[in-house]
Symmetry: C2
Subunit: 210 residues, 2 copies
């Protein structure tokens, strides 16, 4: 920020600019996100943008930050008190929470996932992902306490969940929401069991029989 908005008037303007930023980002995409357009959408002069934002990137950052923040809040709310119910065989509450967050603003989700250069916003994604990872690791450990590759399993699950949930929301495949949650749950449960079983049989091996 270049200056603090002191009067109510200017604080409202800053809000209008951020809202306009979101709108332009959704309507025109990342490539169409220009300062002039944002100003116009906000009903504000181009010069006014730069009273409180140092540059174009700052506006974008603010929009993205708020999106992730909003998502984090939604996730926690959706999880609610169902955290206790989570077991390796029942990860439905986490998956449901994840989906709920994703579904809140599909238009922005699309831009964030399909148009933003990922490199510049890598850290901002963490809040939500970290929470999923937390719960996943707990589930993995519950099944096999001394697995040296438990971290690998957590990584696999987190990446898979995040991307499957995202694509389900964006590409709208013909899969019912409850069915989908069921599939993801089976994916996690099956994976964890399969791993536990392989380890019990004789450590990590190249071939497994049914």
């Amino acid at each position: 920020m270049r200056k603090e908005p002191r009067q109510a008037r200017s604080r409202e303007m800053v809000e209008r600019i951020i809202a306009a930023g979101r709108e332009v980002l959704v309507q025109a995409g990342y490539e169409g996100f220009s300062t002039n357009r944002v100003a116009e959408q906000a009903g504000v002069s181009p010069g006014s943008l730069y009273q409180y934002f140092p540059d174009k990137a700052a506006i974008l950052d603010e929009v993205i930050d708020r999106y992730w923040e909003h998502n984090a809040v939604l996730t926690e709310r959706a999880l609610g008190d169902r955290v206790a119910q989570i077991t390796p065989d029942n990860t439905r509450p986490v998956i449901d929470a994840l989906l709920t967050a994703m579904e809140a603003d599909p238009a922005l989700l699309r831009v964030v996932h399909e148009e933003l250069p990922q490199a510049r916003w890598r850290e901002r994604r963490t809040q939500l992902v970290r929470r999923v990872r937390e719960l996943t690791t707990a589930a993995a450990i519950a099944l096999s306490h001394d697995d040296p590759h438990a971290a690998d399993a957590a990584w696999v699950i987190v990446i898979a969940m995040e991307n499957l949930a995202t694509k389900w929301v964006l590409d709208r495949p013909d899969i019912d929401r409850d069915d989908f949650i069921e599939e993801l749950n089976a994916l996690v449960a099956g994976y964890l069991h399969q791993r536990a079983q392989s380890r019990a049989v004789g450590g990590r091996q190249r071939t497994t029989s049914s």
Copy 2:
């Protein structure tokens, strides 16, 4: 294309332009991909680009098309004659092939996955994905012949595989290649078994016990 390059000289130039396009895309990223830079990199005048390409997008398209084409060829080669070995419990050849393709050109993979606006290149991705889907569906059907949700399972697996393989190559998590293949194999095998089992017990249900 605007004109056919007739002489050998001009055909070479077109090749140089495409190669330069790839180079600029990797070095400068999607946002830095400008016609002037491509021309300079190719050792060619800006005007010459437009002799054979209608616009900037056409150059980019050609680069991306060739990337996918190359990938498809690599996948088939890596699969080789091991296709016969694939079963629901052993999807390693497919995964290996997928990884091999991804590993061939990580720099370009990064740009394609993290910088290109996905919308404009949605169809080009298909060749590789379709092949994986083919093999996956076969594996799914092998385990349960009349599953009404077999297509869902195939979708889940394909999306998961594609993204896991991509992220593994790009984010270089600390997981050994063979271990990773093993994890993915467990993911698929475990998932398919879990589903088959759930169906056997009593159709799709909300709760499963270990």
